[in-house]
Structures are given as C-alpha cells and as structure tokens.
C-alpha cells in the first residue's frame, strides 16, 4: 500500500509552510559551521579589495573618471553585490543532485510527498539566504571602507533587487538543469566548469559588462549569464529605466526557456529512473 498521502490542491497554505520549513532547515544547517560559513564572505571581501586596487589603477591609466556610465565606486559596489550573490549560491545544486543520482537516493526523493523541484528551490533558497546575509553584511562594510558610499535610488534598489531575485531563479533553473544531466551522463563536472566559466566571463563577476568593448557587450547582454547577478547589481548602483526594460525582457525570455526545458528534461529523467529501477 502506498504511504504517500497527496494533499488536496486547495490546501495552499499548508503547502507553503511545508516549503518554508524546508528552507528554514537548510538555513540553519548551513550556519552550523561558522568557520566554513564565514570564509565564503571573507573571500568576497578579499576579491573586492583586489578589484578596488585593480580598477583604481585601470581608470587612472586610462585617465578617465567614468567609463561605460560607471565610476570606480559604482564598479566596486556592483561587483560586491554580484560576487555576494554568486558566492552565496555555492555549493552548486547540480553537485547535490549528481550525488543523489549516483547514490540512488533520487529514487526515494522523487517519491516524497512534495514536488522535487520546489523542494530543491526552497532548500537552496534557505542556504542562499544564510550565505547572502553574511556576504552582504561584510561586503557592505568592506565596500564602504574601500571606496566610500555611493548614492542609491529607490527605483534602482527596488527594481534592481527584483532582477536579482529573477536572476537567482534563473541560476537555480540552469544549475538544476545541469544536475539533471547526471541522469544520462556519468560525470557532469565538465558542464559545471563551462557554466561557471561562462558566468565569470559574461556574468560581470570580475569584469563588469560596462567595461566591455561595445560589440562584445551587446552580445554578452543577450546571454543568460549576464542576467543572473550582473543586470540587477548594475541597476542598483546606477539606475537606468531603459536598461531595466531591456534586461527584464531578456531575463524573462531566458526564464521561460529554461523553465520549459527543465520541465521537459525532468519528466524524461524520471522515466529514466524508473526504467533503471533507481
């Protein structure tokens, strides 16, 4: 007899609390080892410290005060936000899924009374938020000391954060997608490398797209990688409504694309699991 009890669809409230609980458990587990936990944030601080020295010298050599619409402090604050978010998504979800598939646990976890995808979405969110709080706190202090404050607008903060939230979701979908590849492929690390390097190149984690040569920037803006954490952080440090519309459009297109793709791949993958008997 099946032990799985499917709750009726109208019990949305209960469902929400279920996923909230999943997020909470992940949040607290992630904060258990403080040294491990803080070391990520310290990395963010160190990186933006390096960036500060690098871009000060770069701007000075070029003898410019503002390049591509951004001053040095704006560049640094933007990099701080992008780095904080990107670092907070680690360890990658795809690695967890890969382990689940290899160990065969997946056969059980897809049969639990919750949506497998939502379970991971909220679980990752819990870990993400706990990392993010400490990254942003230390990152904010560091940026403040290194380059001083910059003026922010409410529009920028609000709409930029919205893009960052969508960006997080987009990253989740791509990461999940790579994890699901492990249904078919023995070793997904090559996919992981390619994804994280594409983020590094086109995601504005080291080099903001505003400092790209024009032709390259135009291409990079259309790719999903810049729509993870670059677009939002760019708008927070210097808001531009036209840019917001453009980024939002590109982001939505990629979100829909990966959402459909993940749905398709997941349904195929589940069949694969049951054929193989887990």
């Amino acid at each position: 007899m099946s032990m799985v009890v499917t709750s009726p669809d109208f019990r949305w409230g209960l469902k929400f609390f279920k996923y909230l609980e999943i997020a909470k458990v992940n949040y607290f587990t992630n904060t258990t080892y403080l040294a491990n936990f803080l070391s990520k944030s310290i990395m963010v601080v160190l990186r933006i410290w390096i960036f500060t020295q690098l871009y000060r010298v770069t701007y000075a050599t070029a003898n410019e005060n503002e390049i591509g619409g951004l001053t040095v402090p704006m560049v640094i604050w933007g990099l701080m936000i992008a780095q904080s978010l990107n670092t907070a998504t680690r360890p990658q979800l795809s690695k967890l899924i890969d382990e689940e598939v290899k160990s065969g646990v997946i056969a059980y976890s897809i049969n639990r009374p919750y949506s497998y995808i939502l379970f991971h979405y909220f679980g990752s969110m819990g870990r993400f938020v706990s990392n993010l709080i400490s990254n942003l706190t230390l990152g904010f202090l560091a940026a403040f000391i290194l380059v001083g404050p910059i003026s922010l607008s409410w529009n920028g903060l609000l709409l930029g954060s919205l893009l960052l939230f969508f960006g997080y979701t987009l990253d989740f979908l791509i990461d999940l997608m790579i994890g699901l590849i492990s249904f078919w492929v023995e070793d997904i690390s090559a996919f992981n490398w390619i994804y994280s390097k594409s983020q590094l190149i086109f995601g504005g984690l080291i080099l903001p797209l505003s400092l790209f040569p024009d032709y390259l920037r135009n291409i990079a803006e259309l790719l999903p990688f810049s729509q993870l954490f670059y677009s939002g952080s760019r708008l927070i440090v210097n808001f531009d409504f036209q840019l917001f519309q453009k980024y939002l459009l590109i982001q939505m297109a990629w979100l829909v694309f990966f959402w459909l793709l993940v749905g398709y791949v997941f349904s195929k993958g589940i069949k694969h699991v049951s054929v193989n008997g887990g």
Binding site: Y33, A62, I194
Partner: protein
C-alpha cells in the same frame, strides 16, 4: 623530498621517495584510465575552463591595452606559471587538498599503517586527472606569450617547481588547522582559492595593506609576483629569496603537521558532535 628531520635523511631515501611518488602517480592515472570517456572529458573540460578564465582578461585588455605598463602578454605568462605549478600539485600531491577531510574522517589511519612518512603518503596517493589539462594549457600559453629562449624555459621550469612546492606547503599549513579546531575543511579550501585569486590580476596594482597580506597570510607575493618577475628578467637574488621562502614554509608546514598529528583522533569519536 618530503622527509622529516630526525629520520634518516639520506640521499638514498630521497630517491626512494621520489621514485615511489612516480609509481603511485602512474597507478592513479592508470586507475583513471579505466574510464576513458570520463578521463577525456575531465582533461579537455579543464582546458576549456582555463581558456575561459584567460578570456576575461583578454577582454579587459581589449579595452585597456596597458594597465600601468602591464600588458596581456604579462598576464599570459602569469597564467602559464600559475596553471603549471597548480597542476604539479594536483597531479603529484592532490591528497594535500583532502588532508582536512582525511583528518576529520579518520582516513589517515590507512597511511599510518605503512612504514612511510604519513604526510607524503596521504598527499601523493591521489591525482587529479583534470590537472593534466591545466599542465598542457600552461605550457602552451607559456610559448604563446612569446620571447621564449632556452634560458627563459629553464627559469620557467625551475620557478614552476619551486612555486608548486610553496603551494603545497601553504595547503599543508591551512589543512592541518583541522587537527586543532575540528572542522576547517571548507575554510582551508577557500583560503587556498584566495591565495590563487591573486594570480589572475596584474601584479603591479597591489599596494598598501593588501600587499602586506600577500607577503604574510596569503603569500601570493612569493608564489605569483616574484616568479613572474624572474621569468621576465632573470635575477639571482629574487630566485634565492624564493628558495629561502620555500624552505622556510616547508619546515613550518612539517612542524605544524607533526604537532597536529599528536591530536589526531582517528575518527573514533569525532563523529559524535557532527
């Protein structure tokens, strides 16, 4: 090479250890070859990975051809040294990055049962196959960076070896912290990445307190800045300085590891507080 003072440090023992290191690395590669497809994806994947990283700086130098007199070619040389020394550690002493894990999970037991130096044994018995890709990439980039002469090649080789050794020493130190505080695996890993992090950027932009950090806690100055200078323009004094730092950090690493080993708990009870 990885001998501990006090034991019979003769040339013969050194040679024995070197040949055993080679033997074990061969076995690891043989072992990885059992899965040919995965072997290839890892090596090729790593090359693509490295190309991706250097591409960021290619783009940067498109916009700014010279940063304080530093050109893309200099960055290429930096990447060449860095990928080669990193790959040497990962090919011959991959285990060093798992020391923390081995300590908390009691995996050192296995190596302690052999009549050989534990640190050496734990480190050499693993190989990261993808590092072969790093190695190849580094060599190619070195030649692409131009101005290759026989003298420069020799310096490059020597400097890669020395800095690989320093990277090894650094990892031993941070991973050994696990002996004393329990769980330090991820922090140690992050510190290693922080050290490597310095090696992507033009070395002439660093100053002030950050430079002080590069000279002490995260000795990137010795592992990245100096070797780059020496390969660009040979300087015996710099080389000597690097050598001294290498020996110093090696002795420090061994000292801390040996001290830590006395606290080793062999995974018997440590799991209780997990």
């Amino acid at each position: 090479m990885f001998l501990v003072k006090g034991s019979n440090m003769s040339l013969l023992t050194g040679v024995k250890y070197l040949s055993l290191t080679w033997e074990m690395t061969k076995l690891s590669i043989l072992s990885a070859m059992e899965y040919r497809m995965s072997f290839l994806t890892q090596v090729i994947g790593m090359v693509i990975n490295d190309i991706g990283l250097i591409l960021v700086f290619f783009i940067l130098f498109q916009k700014f051809p010279s940063i304080n007199g530093w050109h893309f070619r200099d960055t290429m040389l930096l990447f060449a040294i860095q990928t080669v020394n990193f790959s040497l550690v990962m090919i011959f002493a991959r285990g060093v990055h798992r020391l923390g894990r081995s300590i908390t999970r009691g995996e050192l037991d296995y190596y302690l049962a052999f009549p050989k130096n534990v640190l050496w044994h734990a480190c050499v018995s693993r190989t990261d196959i993808s590092a072969i890709g790093d190695f190849a990439f580094g060599i190619v980039v070195f030649f692409l960076a131009g101005n290759v002469s026989l003298e420069k090649m020799a310096t490059f080789a020597l400097v890669s070896f020395l800095t690989a050794w320093m990277l090894f020493n650094f990892s031993v130190v941070v991973q050994s912290v696990t002996f004393f505080v329990g769980n330090f695996e991820e922090a140690a890993e992050q510190m290693f990445h922080a050290l490597l992090g310095f090696s992507f950027y033009p070395q002439n932009v660093f100053h002030g307190l950050l430079k002080l950090i590069m000279l002490t806690v995260l000795p990137a100055f010795f592992i990245t800045t100096l070797p780059n200078q020496v390969v660009q323009k040979f300087d015996l004094q710099i080389l000597l300085l690097m050598f001294i730092f290498c020996i110093f950090s090696f002795l420090l690493a061994i000292f801390i590891f040996k001290k830590g080993l006395r606290h080793y708990e062999s995974g018997n009870l440590i799991n209780v507080n997990m």
